[in-house]
């Protein structure tokens, strides 16, 4: 990394960003205009072109975060890099989960007549996943040194990942008397949906990688600034003559 760089963009991120944008526009065009409405779900099926890839990428992001967290906690592989990846991936995962929940509720309102169904294990466990990782982001803001923060958040991430299957299982079990959610019975998926699903997944994946690169570089720059800003601030004050020691080039407090 050169010190002269001012942004977090490189050739690679620019290409990725443009590709994501282009594919997203194409996804919207295909999904909204250039595809037939579903026989049963009618136009509401178009919401799924965003909903399904977002949900899948949320899983990917949280799994990446969990693996990075485990790598940080394991002393042999401990490195700040894992912590940065985990943090960036959770941030994106939370955004993807938010998109999943929002689009899912819109779809539910149209297809089921209600925004929310507490009897559906997938809805409830997704909501709790969202809340738990909001907790993770709160832990990131705790005071303490870098290593402390990294260890704390890695533990929170792993506990959340382990708890979600338990939540899912217990809700599902509790609801055995309820009808099976229509999400579980997709029926005949036609070729258009399959293609758009694949297209959407690639779009979201590219977007994920693109944003991960930026988030990672921001975190690296933040680390760098955190190490430097006191020295820089003192040098500036010395130049202004507020703090003594400018003539000698040292940061001594008392004369």
């Amino acid at each position: 990394m050169t010190s002269s760089r001012t942004g977090t963009g490189t050739g690679a991120t620019r290409v990725l960003g443009l590709a994501t944008l282009a594919m997203f526009v194409a996804l919207l065009a295909f999904g909204l205009f250039n595809s037939p409405a579903d026989a049963v779900q009618r136009d509401s099926v178009r919401i799924l072109y965003l909903h399904v890839p977002a949900a899948e990428m949320a899983y990917v992001a949280f799994i990446v975060a969990a693996v990075s967290s485990a790598a940080y906690l394991w002393k042999r592989t401990r490195s700040r890099a894992w912590d940065r990846v985990a943090n960036a991936s959770v941030e994106l995962g939370v955004v993807f989960t938010g998109i999943t929940l929002a689009t899912g509720m819109m779809w539910g309102r149209i297809s089921w007549g209600v925004y929310w169904d507490w009897a559906d294990a997938r809805l409830v466990s997704t909501l709790l996943l969202f809340v738990m990782f909001l907790g993770y982001l709160a832990v990131r803001r705790l005071d303490g040194n870098d290593d402390q923060r990294a260890r704390r958040s890695a533990v929170v991430c792993l506990v959340a990942i382990l708890d979600v299957p338990l939540v899912h299982y217990s809700v599902e079990w509790f609801q055995t008397t309820h009808p099976v959610s229509s999400l579980e019975t997709p029926g005949a998926i036609d070729g258009t949906f399959r293609f758009l699903h694949f297209w959407g997944l690639v779009t979201f994946l590219l977007g994920y990688v693109w944003l991960m690169m930026h988030a990672n570089r921001i975190a690296m720059l933040e680390d760098k600034v955190a190490g430097e800003d006191l020295a820089v601030a003192i040098a500036e004050r010395q130049r202004e003559g507020v703090v003594p020691g400018a003539t000698h080039g040292t940061a001594g407090v008392a004369g």
């Binding site: 906690l73 709790l128 809340v131 738990m132 909001l134 907790g135 709160a138 832990v139 803001r141 705790l142 005071d143 303490g144 040194n145 290593d147 402390q148 260890r151 704390r152 890695a154 533990v155 929170v156 792993l158 506990v159 959340a160 382990l162 708890d163 338990l166 939540v167 299982y169 217990s170 809700v171 079990w173 509790f174």
Partner: protein, 241 residues
């Protein structure tokens, strides 16, 4: 070594609690106030309170858990006691199990008192409201209620201890701990509520329907204790610098 440490730490925590009587003088009254508020909020005469009894009971337990977990680490951070505990060279797993055990003992006591309170105050047999099916206490119902509390509490205590340690000493502790703990203990809430419903014969549940949920509570406790024991070491370990 681990078990000995656990015993020592648990005895220390319980001794501190016994002498300060925070659980007795603050946490328990808080729980009673909460139960009273629920009774005002949900009209007891309409049968609503009775139907909601299991849920209200377990939500109150979870609120207590957050308070007690906070308290368990206030005593450690107050005089840098947690640092002293680290310096003592005791195995972190032992410290964790000891603190979780002490928390579990307090929770068990509070649960027992609250269960009696709910049964006395919330009219679970439906005599006042005159709603619901005939219900009378049997040995199986009583045993199921006790076992559910016994099974769920180690897991709750483990989650509380782990996150209490995590948030200990930070300024945001009071607001952060509920956010972290409450979503994680949802399986225990579900299992506890379903078991209690079976005990009270609510939603046409027979008492025998409660037992599978006790299995869920045991599973939750097992996972929570194992994960907590493993994760506690890295959480409080010395800084390498």
């Amino acid at each position: 070594m681990i078990w000995r440490t656990a015993r020592l730490v648990a005895a220390k925590d319980l001794r501190i609690e016994w002498r300060s009587r925070v659980a007795l003088a603050q946490v328990l009254p808080f729980a009673i106030v909460t139960l009273t508020l629920f009774a005002f909020a949900l009209n007891p005469a309409g049968g609503l309170l009775r139907a909601a009894t299991p849920g209200l009971y377990w939500v109150t337990i979870l609120l207590i858990l957050v308070l007690a977990a906070q308290r368990a680490f206030v005593v450690e951070t107050a005089d840098g006691a947690l640092d002293a505990l680290r310096l003592s060279g005791l195995p972190p797993a032992g410290i964790f199990l000891g603190k979780a055990w002490a928390l579990a003992v307090q929770l068990w006591l509070l649960e027992a008192v609250l269960a009696v309170g709910v049964i006395v105050l919330y009219d679970p047999t439906g005599k006042i409201a005159g709603t619901g099916p005939a219900f009378s206490w049997t040995v199986e119902r009583a045993v199921l209620l006790v076992i559910a509390g016994l099974a769920a509490t180690p897991g709750l205590a483990a989650v509380g201890t782990l996150h209490g340690a995590l948030a200990a000493g930070s300024r945001a502790r009071d607001t952060l701990l509920p956010l972290l703990v409450l979503p994680i203990v949802v399986p225990a809430l579900l299992g506890g509520v379903r078991t209690f419903e079976a005990v009270l014969a609510l939603n046409k549940r027979s008492a025998s329907e409660g037992w599978p949920w006790v299995g869920l509570l045991l599973g939750f406790s097992l996972v929570a204790v194992v994960v907590g024991t493993l994760a506690f070491g890295p959480l409080i370990e010395e800084d390498p610098s």
